[in-house]
């Protein structure tokens, strides 16, 4: 699995409890959901990434936002998705080609509401910091 986003999606899709909260395991998207998608679903996106060099060697640090999204007055479905996502991702070892995961851990909450035609779309998730290095 060459990409970080692919590895994260693979981890999430492999968790039966998480997938059971979604219409199907295709409802996990990178960057944005297709225009006609109906919540609940999960969106992952890269918030930041940069290398750190130490005496010529380097490791990569990146921040990934992973959100559960639901629609309606009640944010519980998104809250539940977030809780399960954390259980799956915290300290997980990502399957990355040619790189080793040194650290993948919750960093900070992301929680806001989006107004769309009178309805509230809840975004509940977190940023996770990944530190990896070449093998």
């Amino acid at each position: 699995m060459p990409s970080v986003r692919g590895a994260i999606i693979e981890l999430l899709r492999a968790d039966a409890e998480l997938v059971a909260m979604l219409p199907d395991d295709e409802h996990i998207y990178h960057r944005t959901a297709p225009q006609d998608s109906q919540p609940p679903f999960i969106i992952i996106s890269k918030q930041d990434g940069r290398p750190t060099y130490t005496f010529g060697d380097h490791h990569n640090g990146s921040l990934w936002t992973v959100k559960g999204i639901c629609r309606g007055m009640d944010s519980t479905p998104a809250d539940d998705l977030d809780e399960r996502i954390r259980a799956v991702l915290q300290d997980a070892e990502l399957d990355l080609d040619g790189r080793t995961t040194l650290w993948f851990r919750f960093e900070e909450d992301v929680d806001f509401g989006e107004l769309e035609e009178g309805a509230i779309i809840h975004h509940v998730g977190a940023m996770y910091r990944l530190i990896d290095q070449p093998d």
């Binding site: 960057r31 944005t32 959901a33 225009q35 998608s37 919540p39 969106i43 996106s45 918030q47 930041d48 940069r50 921040l63 936002t65 959100k67 999204i69 992301v110 806001f112 989006e114 769309e116 779309i121 975004h123 940023m127």
Partner: protein, 144 residues
């Protein structure tokens, strides 16, 4: 050896007179009060400088914005609306500062919506300043 119990406190300096066995007197001066006084001021200056850098970087990274998002006061859109909305807030807690925006859609841009990809401008600015902030604070403390 006797230690004189006289401590003088003037201009943030405390001193103690120590009388040795041969009657010699040594005055020891503590720099801690001065260091403590300088510590807060120097870290605050360093933090302010980092906060200003984060603000400027975030302004440079802020996308011009979608025409779907308008100025809540005027109901109009103009290029750089998000950039212009960013400002520094003194949280008045130790050396803490915040970069803020009053635009409702600012988090939509930073974290994306259900149908719009994220265009991060604040978190990358914060992350870029992490190293310089540590270096700046270290240098400020070493100068004490």
């Amino acid at each position: 050896m006797a230690v004189g119990g006289r401590f003088a406190s003037a201009k943030g300096v405390r001193s103690a007179r120590v009388v040795g066995p041969n009657g010699s007197v040594v005055t020891m001066t503590s720099r801690f009060p001065g260091i403590i006084a300088g510590l807060e001021m120097r870290t605050r200056v360093a933090s302010r400088e980092s906060a200003e850098n984060i603000l400027e970087d975030a302004q440079n990274r802020a996308p011009e914005g979608s025409r779907n998002f308008v100025d809540p006061e005027t109901g109009e859109w103009h290029p750089g609306l998000l950039k212009d909305s960013l400002y520094l807030v003194d949280l008045d807690i130790a050396e803490d500062w915040a970069v803020a925006s009053d635009l409702r859609y600012a988090p939509y841009v930073e974290f994306g919506t259900s149908v719009m990809p994220a265009q991060p401008f604040l978190i990358p600015a914060l992350e870029a300043e992490r190293g310089p902030y540590i270096a700046r604070t270290t240098a400020a403390l070493q100068a004490l």
